[in-house]
Point group: C2
Chain length 217, copies 2
DNA sequence: TCCTATTTTTAGTCTTATCTAAATTTAATT
DNA sequence: AATTAAATTTAGATAAGACTAAAAATAGGA
């Protein structure tokens, strides 16, 4: 149906639309895709001809319904494979991204459907990101960033905003994993660092950390 | 490491070398790959520069040690994924080939290793073909074709030579599956057709069928 | 051996997805 | 409003992997 590159562009546009709640500029897309702006222009024209995006010169792009569906399908596959790798193949959550980047392009409806069944219809990937269902619907959850909590508030860790290896390994090292309860014992006004309690252990974390950890109260 | 196309060529050369016990001609390869002979020449030159094959103009190609290892690795992945699809994802043995053709190119040593472990180190794929181990060793088995059996001989069905959907579905329809015992009740000299007994049921099969079913006595 | 048919290779073209460099448009600032 | 800076697009080039058509090499038969 769509080429590997096309799928990657659609996915990138989807993520950027979410992130900025707006149309996506050529430069933003070129940064996300790690290509030159001129390459983006070429591809965007192609996607536009295929009616996958709405594009007006110098005005950025937006996904069409068709483009959004294609993007969501790729994201669904990516996240299902991540679950598979962690749950069944003993991968750590910081190792799955690149492999899922490959697996997400495998074309077979039945494969996706059966993988979903095999994994018992997971609703979130190992990083806490929602897995859209076969119709493309995301479950919405009212999560907030740990950095938004005040002293005395408590919540459950439900996801990560940054899913780089460095961050995930930091969390592993400090025994912070999804599902755990976090209590804000203290918050330093000067640098926004926090003293938190997890499993009865106290830990001081910087704002960089707390601004990348999703919490549900 | 290697491109998708390169891997497919290496795999094809491997299979043809096996089949004909000889170097592989450009035409044979172009037929196997479903491309034109001129395309084969181009690719073969490239593989030769990369030391993956030995190639002399007009003399056909042979895999080098390096090329053979690469080919075997792809075949290993292909067959492991086929097992996964059948054993875990409810695929029938006639549905797995094209998907495995995609999955075999996923690059991750750990993935292959863990998949192998997850599947409990299967020695054969759903069609009875051997799965090479991580070092590239194939288990050899002294199987023979059903067509080679004489009246009165009995054996266990261990593999298929042709794994086209048509053939596999024929076998399904007639309740012939790997592991079943087959007894040759009669063999017709004129057309080489056979009367066989499986699970106490008698069935007449043509030579086309019996020449594509591997048996172990 | 010579000639012809077949096989293989070469030469040149195409498509996809990328790039660089230059041109153009938009946005920002005075 | 004019000018400059930034963003975007155009034009032309490249690499991979395929193609067609034509040339060259090999093999088989008289």
């Amino acid at each position: 149906m769509f080429s590997l590159s096309e799928e990657n562009y659609l996915k990138a546009i989807f993520h950027l639309e979410r992130k900025y709640q707006a149309g996506v500029s050529t430069n933003a897309l070129s940064e996300e895709m790690d290509t030159k702006a001129s390459s983006v222009t070429d591809m965007v024209k192609k996607l536009s001809e295929k009616k996958l995006v709405k594009y007006k010169k110098y005005q950025g792009v937006k996904l069409s319904e068709k483009g959004r569906n294609a993007a969501v399908e790729v994201i669904r596959k990516h996240r299902l494979w991540e679950v598979f790798l962690v749950e069944k193949l003993n991968f750590n959550w910081d190792e799955v991204h690149e492999i899922a980047e490959q697996l997400e392009h495998i074309k077979s409806e039945k494969l996706t459907r059966e993988l979903d069944r095999f994994l018992e219809h997971p609703s979130r990937d190992p990083h806490g990101d929602p897995i859209p269902d076969a119709e493309g619907n995301f479950s919405v959850s009212n999560k907030l960033l740990l950095s938004e909590l005040e002293k005395g508030q408590e919540g459950i860790c439900v996801g990560v905003k940054d899913s780089s290896s460095d961050f995930l390994r930091y969390l592993d090292k400090n025994k912070i994993s999804l599902g755990k309860s976090i209590l804000v014992k203290d918050k330093e006004p000067f640098d926004e660092s926090m003293l938190v309690e997890i499993d009865g252990e106290k830990l001081r974390i910087s704002n960089t950390i707390s601004a990348n950890l999703y919490i549900k109260i």
